[in-house]
């Protein structure tokens, strides 16, 4: 048993440590973030150095943003530093701003599901920037993936510059582009090399333009100092997606504009050796005569082995032909041949086939396929599909995911027939919308006010017009331990209060009541002989705060002469402050501090709290005098969770000798109040029955209410 307990405690402790999250917020002079999970829900500002240790994971939620005004030092091991957004509530990313002489190093990190992972804001400046060996994946923002605006160098005068390297990174499944304000600059020496840019879907309008490419910027003749180095990158299947139709509109790799005549992007891999095909994915002078001509004379015919791992060729295993982007797949494939730039691991790979369930539905059937891997050479494999699916004769696409590298590197997903599938998706969407529209063309039956169906309608009225202030006055009768079962044989006291009401829905309103009253009663009012023999009495002032929720039988938006009487019922909670007292020899004593139930003589007991929690039910009948004024009567039944409103709880009669000995002040009063009638008692006899010990009271009276605002 003990071992089990120890195990459970250990398990809870380990679980707590594993899942404990640290929320970062505010302004930091320097911020060094250790291994573990961290949450960023708002803007955090680091004026000095931001440092993330290997193993640190950052969840950026909604407005989550890291503003760095100094150095950045992010050095992970095998991409074990992660910056990721919360699904459907994605955070922003980094903003680099201000002038600082330190370096920015972002190495071996993952940026996933963010709005704008890296923004080098206008006027920023550092000594150097290195963004290397990172993975940028599935970032959802449609503005930019990395945006590099100009530093504040003097126009052509300042001789200082900075190296800006983006090398060995993997960019895949992102929705936005990398943008350099000046791709050719005298102040930033750009090195964009050895990156893999595969399977990105840049969102924009259908017309292909400069900014709807994965990488774009300006190249002006005025800058001659540096020639940006953009070499040995692999651009593979990056497309422009039409914002409106969600269909593939164009290949979208590289765009350039500016006054420069030519711009060199030689020595890169573009997914093909076909020049015509390559030109489809670049935006230059060919499309816009005022833009520079992109020089692609010397291209790589296969991707560099040193690029981050990706699959660059997918062929049909039956005929050995490369799948074209526009292929429409309706029939199941038997095998595929995949080639990657490095040796890939297919042991955990998942191959699936997805298609629409029916023509008029957007529901997608996702079938997981099994396959055998046959190695053709170190980088080429044939996947023999062993699980055949019946031909759905519907447009679908194949997806190959979870392929990894020898060091568990992430490998971009490969999709076959995706372009045709998106077109088909568009058709389905139009059809579904059309059907939905037809349904909506039947005008809905106008709803009748005050009908049962219409009871909880939202109210469009201004917030302040929903408030109503009420003044309450009436009586209170204690009906708890010390009381008569006949309500009218009990003592009645005055009650005052006020209530603030707020109309939530047409028939639902909330209220907050603050009331003050006195409760008092005596056993001698009872007709029960036991109670008479007990002979206890008390008096207490109470102050209560009671939030409530009410159901109004009449639509409270209406003001008609026919509906002047407006009943309502409700319930709520009570927070009651009380302090029972009693009179002994003409002097009033605080009963709680005397410990009349033996609380002071029994070490296992303690004094009861003078705050009681309770609940209540109320019934109101309001007469609406005019639009703003109303008056009415109310009745409230309060039940307390404490049994000590009257000081008499289910305690044993205390031993008189002990009570005298232990009570230092007013011992005689304590003895008297513990048993006011000195009734003969048997051992263990209780002052109050434990069966239904809770106290209660009722309130009733009149109220006057007024809406404060129009």
């Amino acid at each position: 048993m003990n071992r089990f307990l120890l195990f459970m405690i250990g398990f809870i402790f380990i679980s707590y440590n594993l899942y404990s999250q640290d929320t970062l917020s505010g302004i930091y002079a320097n911020l060094k973030v250790s291994k573990g999970s961290h949450v960023i829900k708002d803007v955090i500002r680091v004026t000095g150095t931001f440092e993330a240790e290997p193993g640190a994971k950052f969840e950026l939620i909604d407005k989550g943003l890291i503003v760095c005004e100094g150095a950045i030092n992010i050095k992970g091991v095998q991409n074990n530093i992660e910056f990721f957004g919360k699904k459907n509530l994605e955070g922003v990313g980094f903003v680099i701003k201000n002038i600082d002489s330190n370096n920015i190093v972002i190495n071996n990190a993952v940026f996933k599901g963010l709005q704008l992972p890296l923004l080098f804001d206008f006027g920023w400046k550092r000594n150097s920037v290195e963004i290397s060996n990172n993975v940028f994946i599935s970032n959802v923002g449609r503005n930019s993936l990395i945006q590099v605006l100009n530093p504040p160098f003097n126009f052509n005068i300042d001789s200082s510059y900075m190296d800006f390297k983006i090398v060995n990174n993997l960019f895949t499944d992102n929705n936005a582009a990398i943008y350099f304000e000046d791709l050719r600059s005298d102040h930033i020496n750009i090195d964009f090399s050895n990156n893999t840019i595969a399977g990105n879907y840049i969102y924009g309008f259908k017309n292909y333009n400069i900014s709807t490419n994965f990488m774009y910027g300006r190249a002006d003749q005025i800058f001659t100092r540096f020639v940006p180095r953009i070499v040995k990158n692999s651009f593979y299947k990056n497309y422009l997606i039409d914002n409106i139709t969600d269909t593939i509109a164009h290949l979208a790799n590289f765009g350039i504009y500016g006054s420069e005549k030519t711009f060199n992007i030689d020595q890169n891999y573009w997914g093909t050796s076909n020049k015509k095909f390559i030109e489809k994915g670049i935006y230059d002078q060919t499309i816009n005569y005022s833009s520079p001509k992109l020089n692609t004379d010397s291209i790589l015919i296969s991707p560099s082995e040193s690029n981050p791992l990706f699959i660059y060729s997918v062929k049909n295993g039956e005929n050995g032909e490369e799948f074209q982007d526009s292929i429409t797949i309706k029939d199941p494939l038997k095998s595929i041949i995949v080639a990657s730039n490095q040796k890939a691991n297919y042991s955990k790979a998942a191959l699936s086939y997805k298609y629409f369930k029916s023509d008029s539905s957007l529901k997608i059937i996702d079938t997981i396929l099994t396959f055998n891997v046959q190695e053709i050479n170190s980088t080429t494999n044939k996947l023999e599909i062993t699980k055949t699916i019946p031909s759905p004769k519907k447009v679908g696409y194949y997806s190959l995911k979870n392929v990894s590298g020898s060091n568990s590197e992430y490998v971009p997903e490969v999709k076959i027939g995706y372009q045709a599938f998106l077109l088909d998706y568009r058709k389905h969407k139009l059809l579904v919308d059309l059907l939905k529209e037809k349904k909506d063309t039947v005008p809905p039956k106008p709803k009748e006010l005050d009908s049962v169906k219409n009871q909880f309608q939202k109210i469009e009225a201004p917030q302040k017009s929903r408030f109503e202030l009420s003044l309450l006055g009436g009586g209170t009768i204690f009906t708890g331990t010390i009381s008569n079962s006949n309500l009218f044989n009990n003592e009645m006291n005055m009650a005052f209060g006020f209530n603030v009401g707020y109309t939530i829905y047409s028939n639902i309103s909330a209220g907050l009541t603050i009331f003050s009253s006195k409760l008092s009663n005596s056993d001698l009012n009872s007709t029960n002989n036991d109670q008479i023999a007990r002979g206890m009495s008390f008096s207490t002032s109470i102050l209560g705060i009671s939030p409530s929720l009410n159901y109004d039988f009449v639509d409270n938006r209406l003001y008609t002469k026919a509906k002047r009487f407006r009943p309502s019922v409700g319930f709520g909670l009570d927070f009651i402050s009380f302090k029972p007292t009693g009179i002994y020899k003409g002097k009033e004593y605080d009963l709680q501090s005397l410990g009349t139930g033996g609380q002071m003589i029994d070490s296992t007991k303690k004094q009861y709290s003078l705050m009681a929690l309770g609940y209540f039910l109320n019934v109101k009948l309001k007469y609406q005098i005019n639009r703003f004024n109303s008056a009415g009567i109310f009745f409230m039944l309060h039940k307390s969770m404490s049994d000590y409103l009257d000081d008499v709880g289910p305690d044993e009669y205390p031993n008189v000798a002990k009570l005298l000995a232990k009570t230092k002040v007013n011992a005689d009063a304590a003895v008297y109040f513990s048993n006011p009638t000195s009734r003969p008692i048997s051992a263990g006899q209780l002052r109050n029955s434990p069966n239904s010990p809770k106290d209660s009271f009722i309130q009733f009276g009149f109220f006057y209410a007024r809406k404060l605002f129009k």
Binding site: M492, A495, L524, A533, G586, A631, V656, V671, I681, F702
Partner: protein, 159 residues
């Protein structure tokens, strides 16, 4: 115009009615707390209030001082008690009956009777005590005469 006057009259009537009911509540809702005087309260402490199961109080001897010196009570003497009834009667362990009166909060007068063989009252003696302490647990009476000064300490014997 007539309608407006009618609503105005109804409103004024409602206000009057509400005020009237409010005042009525004020008048009737004041706590009906029965306050007894101190002497009555002391009598209740000594002998009970007379309500159900509170018609008598029993006081057991705890200690005794005679002429300022403590008097060692025997085991038999320690079991002595006196019962005061709320109706004014009193009796003790040994059957010595009588009546009690409390003319002031500090004075207790006991009238004790002796009986003849036929059970008729033969004689009576009156003892006057000074009440030094009386609460729900303790009763301290002082008897002061020329030859005898007694301090009698009783404790409530109701439990």
């Amino acid at each position: 115009m007539h309608k407006k006057n009618l609503y105005r009259s109804i409103f004024i009537l409602s206000c009057k009615l509400t005020t009237l009911l409010f005042i009525l509540t004020l008048m009737t809702s004041c706590a009906k707390q029965e306050v007894i005087n101190e002497l009555m309260f002391q009598k209740n402490l000594l002998a009970g209030s007379g309500s159900y199961q509170n018609e008598k109080h029993t006081w057991k001897i705890d200690s005794l001082y005679i002429n300022g010196l403590v008097y060692n009570l025997s085991t038999n003497a320690k079991s002595y008690y006196r019962v005061f009834y709320s109706n004014g009667a009193t009796t003790d362990r040994d059957g010595l009956n009588g009546t009690w009166e409390m003319p002031t909060v500090k004075d207790l007068k006991l009238k004790l009777y002796t009986y003849d063989n036929n059970g008729k009252i033969k004689d009576s003696i009156i003892n006057k005590y000074q009440i030094i302490t009386l609460n729900a647990a303790q009763l301290h009476l002082k008897y002061d005469s020329t030859n005898l000064k007694q301090d009698l300490y009783f404790i409530s014997n109701n439990q």
